[in-house]
């Protein structure tokens, strides 16, 4: 074992981690926003919107992330970072849209009827009554969605984004210390996933429907 390799390459790993975190944060925020908007549009009583959202979800959920990545990078010709973020956002937002729609369906119908009777318009009903409840209902599976985004950032190495997995492979090819590099990066991904799970757990407890 030559763990000192990791110490020697600490800066390389750190830079990789920064890229991974950037990709993760941008893609989580992006897929949450797009997913929530899509989920709400799909829940509105409009045939065309429903079909549009159903198509969005079906198409994007059925394509591998890597295929999206290659399409955006090689076919559309985007830079590596934007291609990676858009691929991750379109991928995960399809799942999140489905999740949000399920959460909205789980809110009792009386909630929107009561708000309508009080004079609230559609926008206010979604913003203040339905979404806050729907998001609380789907918070546990939402945690897995966010962790999924972090794991999928590793695919960005295939188009040359120098994120954590990319750097791990670089260390391996320069030093032949694949075991040490892979073990270290495994623990780093695990730590990020646990941090998300922990943060979401805290948020859930704070916002729990009493």
């Amino acid at each position: 074992m030559h763990w000192e390799v990791i110490w020697r390459y600490r800066e390389v790993l750190w830079n990789g981690l920064i890229f991974t975190l950037q990709l993760s944060v941008l893609s989580i925020v992006g897929s949450l926003v797009v997913g929530v908007v899509m989920g709400c549009l799909g829940a509105l009583p409009n045939f065309f919107l429903r079909k549009f959202v159903a198509t969005y979800v079906e198409v994007l959920r059925n394509l591998p992330v890597v295929v999206k990545l290659f399409f955006l990078y090689f076919v559309v010709g985007l830079e590596a970072m934007p291609a990676a973020v858009i691929a991750l956002v379109t991928h995960q937002s399809a799942y999140i849209a489905d999740l949000v729609a399920a959460g909205l369906r789980a809110v009792p119908r009386e909630q929107s009827e009561a708000a309508y009777a009080c004079g609230h318009g559609q926008w206010q009903i979604y913003r203040h009554i339905l979404l806050p409840q729907a998001l609380r209902i789907v918070a546990p599976p939402m945690t897995s969605q966010f962790i999924e985004v972090v794991k999928n950032t590793s695919t960005a190495m295939l188009i040359g984004v120098e994120e954590l997995t990319f750097q791990t492979q670089a260390i391996e090819s320069e030093t032949f210390r694949g075991f040490e590099a892979a073990s270290t990066v495994t623990l780093m991904y695990l730590a990020m996933a646990l941090a998300i799970a922990g943060g979401m757990g805290l948020l859930e407890r704070r916002l729990r429907l009493r």
Partner: protein
């Protein structure tokens, strides 16, 4: 203000192929308390829900507060807020405190400042006897208390009409009276009220008029005392026998 705040003209409604309202003609008087009763599936809740546009009708006209109900009038949030409504259950927002429940519509629909909305909300909560529960969450309240908050939430908008859709049907028996007491006070204050309920004792005491529905029709529409002493139809008589001697 028109002297008939609610008017139905040959109103019919279908759910799919089954007709739930069959040519309803009704007027409700200003400041009157009217109880709508009848067996389940008679169309009484649907009738009530038509008044604030929760249900739309396929035939006939409904006029509320001098305006015909159309997509345009119902889109006006100010107009809908003139008609308060209390539901059977699940209607308080569970993620908000009692105070937030009661101040949300004044703030967002009427644009009242937070301080003014709070002051008015507390006045309404005091009126329904829950001034000490402003910071509680719905799940911490009993069913009866939740319904009283729901009444305060409707009253805070200063409605001209109050609709009640079986407000005590989901409550434990010992909580029914506290809700009926609040409704009794409201009736005494001169509020125009339309109430769907099975509480016949309450109806007898508070209502000016009873509308008895069956299979989508108004079978009987009489003064309260006449309805209870000598219902004009067999169907109403049978309903009363069942509900008063169970």
């Amino acid at each position: 203000m028109p002297d008939s705040p609610i008017r139905f003209r040959s109103v019919s409604k279908w759910f799919g192929t089954s007709q739930v309202l069959k040519g309803i003609d009704l007027t409700f008087g200003m400041g009157h308390v009217v109880v709508v009763c009848g067996p389940s599936g008679s169309g009484k809740s649907t009738l009530l829900r038509c008044i604030n546009g929760l249900e739309r009708v396929q035939e006939g006209q409904i006029e509320v507060l001098g305006q015909e109900l159309t997509d345009r009038t119902l889109r006006s949030s100010g107009f809908r807020a003139e008609i308060g409504m209390v539901f059977q259950r699940f209607s308080l927002y569970p993620h908000m405190s009692v105070l937030q429940n009661v101040t949300l519509a004044p703030r967002l629909v009427r644009g009242t400042t937070a301080a003014a909305a709070k002051e008015r909300a507390i006045r309404m909560l005091t009126r329904v006897g829950l001034a000490d529960k402003v910071d509680a969450y719905p799940a911490e309240l009993s069913g009866g208390q939740q319904q009283r908050v729901a009444i305060a939430r409707a009253l805070v908008m200063d409605p001209k009409i109050m609709l009640f859709d079986e407000p005590t049907s989901a409550l434990d028996p010992e909580m029914i009276h506290e809700v009926l007491d609040v409704m009794r006070d409201l009736a005494a204050s001169g509020m125009t009220m339309v109430i769907v309920t099975h509480e016949m004792g309450f109806a007898r005491e508070v209502a000016r008029r009873i509308i008895f529905m069956d299979e989508g029709e108004v079978v009987e529409d009489s003064e309260t005392s006449a309805f209870f002493s000598a219902p004009a139809t067999d169907r109403a008589q049978r309903f009363l026998d069942k509900i008063l001697h169970h």
